[in-house]
């Protein structure tokens, strides 16, 4: 350990070196004196001949050091001392940086949880991809049980494939029922994801066959195990009642695993073959290729890239489209990485999160510019220090390193606080996701990826903030600086120009964020104003699950009729109805392949038409105008002979498919039967408020029954919606406590989900943009205040020479105005370019909306003037006598 010895013996080595140099100088002086030179001259000459003693000793010592590291630690110690010496400066810089880094880390932790690490707990999750079927018009669909099995059996580029379907289960006895979200999965689900059981086992080989209803076993999640079984191993083998059937718990999933939908958590996994048991005995969906209810996840074979596998999947889907032409004609299929998959929250969050991340990036740049500005101001007052160090022989690179070390310290401290903020805010991803219908979202963990991101951010910030001040350090001429003892901290024109540029950049960046926020605010405002085509006010809604109660068609029908009658008797209630889908809510993408009499679809036309199952009276309750024909009635069922299946279609349906002749009486084929169109209703907004009209149809609840969809009951009231909500829950429970009631809310709240993304974008971006503007103005204020302080002398002279307050004001404020206007122009141009990327996310607003730009300009100028006003006011109060003495 030679180097270790060296470190410990270094003090002696250094001592030797200084002794030696001293002796050298003495000897020289002695010799010169002996040659007849006066002593003090001899001393000077000896030093001149020798060179810079300090620098040479340091170079000599450096031989024994690891200069890079040791000088870094010296810089670090010195930097810490500097920061402690200026607590106000340090606090402001660190807090600003913490804010900038904290917001970035928080948003990144959301992105990490939703997009980068969509399948926590899985082994090599990057090898797992989503297999999606594609309708003829390219719309992404799920897969059916049979299609999924074929994909699994025939694809060579895929190592293994599993299917999963999310479902709300009713767990518990007949009287105490809890709603638990789970997944129906194929037996190899955990193998494909590469998950090992925490306790017990996963599905055995025997439990993986296709035999329907043969394996009543479930795996539970770790949180469920903890909350319901106190993490007791006796849970394994215990019975659990799900949708009124008895299952046996065979295993517990590991703690970090929460299912196959990114960002969502599930607590129960049951074999897909048990669908009949949890779905009122009906499991024909497993035998129907058209019932595309499963998400498919595939693990790529070793060494296979997704592009290669995609080719095979497409080719195989085309073969299926021919072989199973009756169900799969025109269908294709493809693979997506999980973050691009369409079934899960990642799709709806991809856009908002990208926008948020970009805005946070802009914010961080402003923060960096602000801190750089502070550093430049301080660098001016530190010029003496730097000059002295340079005079003592420090190379400029050493000064640059010193400044960078100090910004690194600031950035690290900022990142530390920022990380704390992110941890504190990690629960906040819930804000981004509408609460209805979706299983609760996992709390995004602050994992290694997030930590690395924060560290990288801190380094980047250190360089960004430090670079300009660092390069400024030691630029000044040493002699000039040392001579210039009179003025306290003058700053060169160069530094002033740099600071001005930084302020312009800050204002420009703030303008970009303001324009973005403005566009989203206006978009949200307009979207909220769009009439959905039905009246969502004064309506209470609640969802009931028939499958959980094991109801068949008759039971569901009788329950629904009786509940409607009970509710109609409630005081204030004006109308009651039910359907299987709430427009503008989440989910409900049920569709049917239709054939319209007299209409020949185009080659790639998508005839999978969305539909809702409704009860008589639904349209009048929703206030959707019936344009022609009649509403459904209670005789539209399967018992009145002759059975005549009927449907009601919307305007767009008529426009697209029934261009000639009367719509009423037209025959339409679906579900293996011919339906007669009996009515036409006005279009409403079904999925998004800004959607173009889509063809849509309705079928009566007594003819088409889907127990897995349950039913949503609506109560329109003249009184308080809250009262109606209470009545809804009470009456449903009174009729049959075994029927779980959930998502009781007002219709307005439940359709708010469709605007949720807009609302979040508008509110979060407003906050961030406000912060950006504030920071930019603090920067502006700093520069203005500093410039007034610098010019006190000049102002004093001007006042003495007879300048009026207005003149002074003009001199001072014009600088601020120029910075602001330059920033505004640059920012607006950049915003024009940048906001084009978000145009698809805006509702009825052009990215170049003049009102938004005008508002941003006004706000920016107003705030900027406020930031200039204080320094300007100070300038006005300058007393010429004081100012002239101000040296």
């Amino acid at each position: 350990m030679n180097w270790l010895k060296r470190i410990f013996s270094r003090e002696r080595l250094y001592g030797d070196l200084s002794d030696e140099i001293r002796e050298h100088l003495d000897e020289k002086v002695e010799e010169l004196i002996a040659n007849g030179m006066p002593e003090h001259e001899a001393r000077l000459a000896a030093r001149r001949e020798f060179g810079n003693v300090l620098a040479i000793s340091e170079r000599g010592r450096e031989v024994w050091q690891f200069p890079a590291i040791e000088s870094f630690f010296t810089d670090l110690r010195f930097g810490l001392r500097q920061l402690r010496k200026n607590p106000a400066f340090s606090a402001v810089a660190i807090l600003t940086l913490a804010f900038g880094i904290g917001t970035n880390t928080t948003v990144f932790s959301w992105i990490s949880a939703v997009l980068l690490n969509p399948l926590p707990g899985a082994t090599h999750p990057e090898r797992v991809v989503a297999l999606e079927e594609l309708a003829p018009d390219g719309e992404s669909k799920r897969t059916s049980y049979l299609d999924g099995r074929d994909f699994r059996d025939y694809l060579k580029q895929i190592d293994s494939m599993t299917i999963a379907r999310e479902m709300a289960f009713a767990v518990g006895s007949d009287t105490v029922i809890e709603r638990v979200w789970g997944e129906l999965v194929s037996g190899n689900y955990f193998d494909v994801l590469g998950v090992q059981p925490e306790a017990g086992r996963f599905f055995s080989i025997a439990e993986r066959d296709d035999a329907p209803n043969a394996h009543p076993v479930v795996v539970i999640s770790h949180p469920y195990w903890t909350s319901h079984y106190h993490s007791d191993l006796s849970a394994i083998g215990a019975n659990i009642r799900i949708n009124r059937r008895t299952f046996t718990i065979i295993g517990v999933a590991p703690e970090n695993f929460h299912g196959s939908m990114p960002g969502e958590t599930f607590d129960i996994w049951a074999p897909a073959t048990m669908l009949g048991q949890v779905n009122s005995g009906s499991d024909w969906m497993l035998q129907d290729r058209k019932t595309r209810m499963f998400r498919a996840l595939a693990r790529l074979a070793p060494g296979v890239r997704i592009e290669q596998a995609r080719v095979e999947v497409q080719a195989f889907a085309h073969r299926m489209a021919v072989a199973d032409a009756d169900t799969n004609e025109g269908m294709s299929a493809t693979l997506f990485p999980m973050w691009q998959a369409h079934h899960g929250i990642q799709m709806s969050l991809l856009g908002p999160l990208s926008v948020l991340m970009s805005v946070c990036g802009l914010l961080l740049l402003i923060v960096c510019a602000n801190v750089a500005n502070l550093l430049l101001a301080r660098a001016t007052s530190r010029q003496k220090e730097f000059s002295v160090r340079m005079a003592l022989g420090a190379p400029r690179s050493r000064l640059v390193r010193q400044v960078l070390t100090e910004t690194l310290l600031l950035a690290i401290a900022g990142a530390g606080f920022g990380l704390l903020t992110a941890i504190w805010l990690s629960d906040s991803l819930r804000w981004l996701v509408p609460g209805t219908g979706i299983p609760s979202l996992a709390r995004p963990p602050i994992d290694v990826r997030v930590l690395l991101f924060t560290v990288a951010l801190a380094l980047g910030v250190a360089v960004l903030t430090g670079l300009v001040p660092a390069l400024q350090a030691g630029r000044e001429n040493v002699n000039e600086m040392l001579k210039d003892r009179s003025r306290s901290g003058t700053s060169s024109a160069r530094t002033r120009r740099l600071r001005g540029l930084l302020v312009v950049a800050e204002v420009a960046l703030a303008v970009i964020t303001l324009v973005g926020a403005g566009l989203f605010v206006k978009s949200f405002h307009l979207a909220r104003g769009i009439h959905p085509g039905f009246d969502p006010n004064n309506v209470a809604v609640a969802h009931v699950s028939f499958s959980a109660a094991g109801y068949n068609l008759q039971q569901a029908d009788s329950f629904s009729q009786r509940l409607q009658e009970q509710l109609a008797r409630e005081p204030g209630v004006t109308a009651v109805g039910y359907s299987d889908f709430v427009p503008l809510s989440i989910g409900g993408d049920s569709w049917e392949d239709l054939e319209v009499q007299g209409y020949v679809p185009g080659a790639s036309e998508n005839m999978k038409i969305y539909r809702t199952v409704v009860a008589p009276g639904y349209f009048s309750m929703m206030k959707i105008p019936l344009l022609s024909g009649r509403d459904f009635n209670l005789q539209d069922d399967k018992t009145h002979t002759p059975i005549q299946p009927v449907m009601i279609v919307n305007q767009e349906f008529v426009r697209r498919f029934i261009s000639t002749g009367d719509a009423i009486g037209r025959k339409v084929h679906g579900w293996g039967a011919w339906f007669t169109v009996v009515g036409v209703v006005q279009d409403i907004k079904y999925f998004r408020v800004n959607e173009a009209p889509i063809p849509y149809f309705y079928v009566p609840a007594r003819q088409i029954y889907r127990p897995e969809d349950g039913a949503t009951f609506y109560v329109r009231t003249g009184g308080a919606v809250e009262q109606a909500m209470i009545a809804l829950r009470r009456e449903a429970q009174a009729l049959d406590p075994a029927v779980p009631v959930f998502n009781v809310s007002s219709l307005n709240d439940s359709i708010a989900g469709s605007l949720f993304g807009q609302k979040i974008a508008a509110s979060l971006l407003s906050v961030l943009a406000g912060a950006s503007l504030l920071l930019a103005c603090i920067g502006l204020y700093g520069v203005m205040a500093y410039s007034v302080a610098q010019r006190t002398n000049e102002i004093g002279i001007r006042v003495t020479l007879g300048a009026q307050p207005a003149d002074i004001l003009k001199t001072v404020a014009s600088d601020g105005l120029i910075f602001t206007l330059a920033g505004l122009v640059l920012g607006s141009i950049a915003a024009m370019v940048a906001t084009r990327m978000i145009s698809s996310m805006l509702v009825s607003v052009s990215p170049a909306d003049p009102v938004v730009y005008a508002a941003v300009t006004a706000i920016t100028i107003f705030i900027a003037m406020a930031a200039t006003a204080i320094p300007a006011y100070r300038a006005l109060r300058v007393d010429p006598m004081v100012a002239l003495r101000y040296e």
Partner: protein, 113 residues
């Protein structure tokens, strides 16, 4: 500052001269620098101090060793001696220097017309 640019003709030159000088006779720093200046006929402008970092490097690499003692003029001095490794190093350096010098002079020979 110009002086210091002239000082090192090429990296390692100063070290080579130190080793060569000390090989002949152990010397202390001051005597060493005076000797080099004198021997070079004062053609080489050496900042006296620049000797010391070079000495430290040679010490660290084990090419020299140093000992405190008392000089003839009754002055406390640190005398440097060359080590075996130092002699070997010097030999190698001188050979390669001569080769380089040879190469350079061949190029610099005036073109025969």
């Amino acid at each position: 500052m110009k002086k210091s640019e002239q000082r090192d003709l090429f990296p390692g030159a100063l070290e080579m001269m130190i080793l060569r000088t000390v090989k002949r006779q152990p010397l202390h720093g001051y005597a060493l620098v005076q000797h080099i200046k004198r021997a070079s006929n004062d053609l080489l402008q050496i900042e006296e101090g620049s000797l010391y970092p070079a000495l430290q490097r040679l010490l660290k690499d084990g090419l020299l060793k140093a000992e405190w003692g008392v000089s003839a003029t009754n002055r406390r001095v640190r005398t440097y001696k060359i080590t075996a490794a130092g002699e070997k190093h010097l030999e190698r350096e001188v050979t390669s220097f001569e080769k380089m010098l040879d190469g350079i002079s061949r190029v610099l020979v005036p073109v025969k017309s």
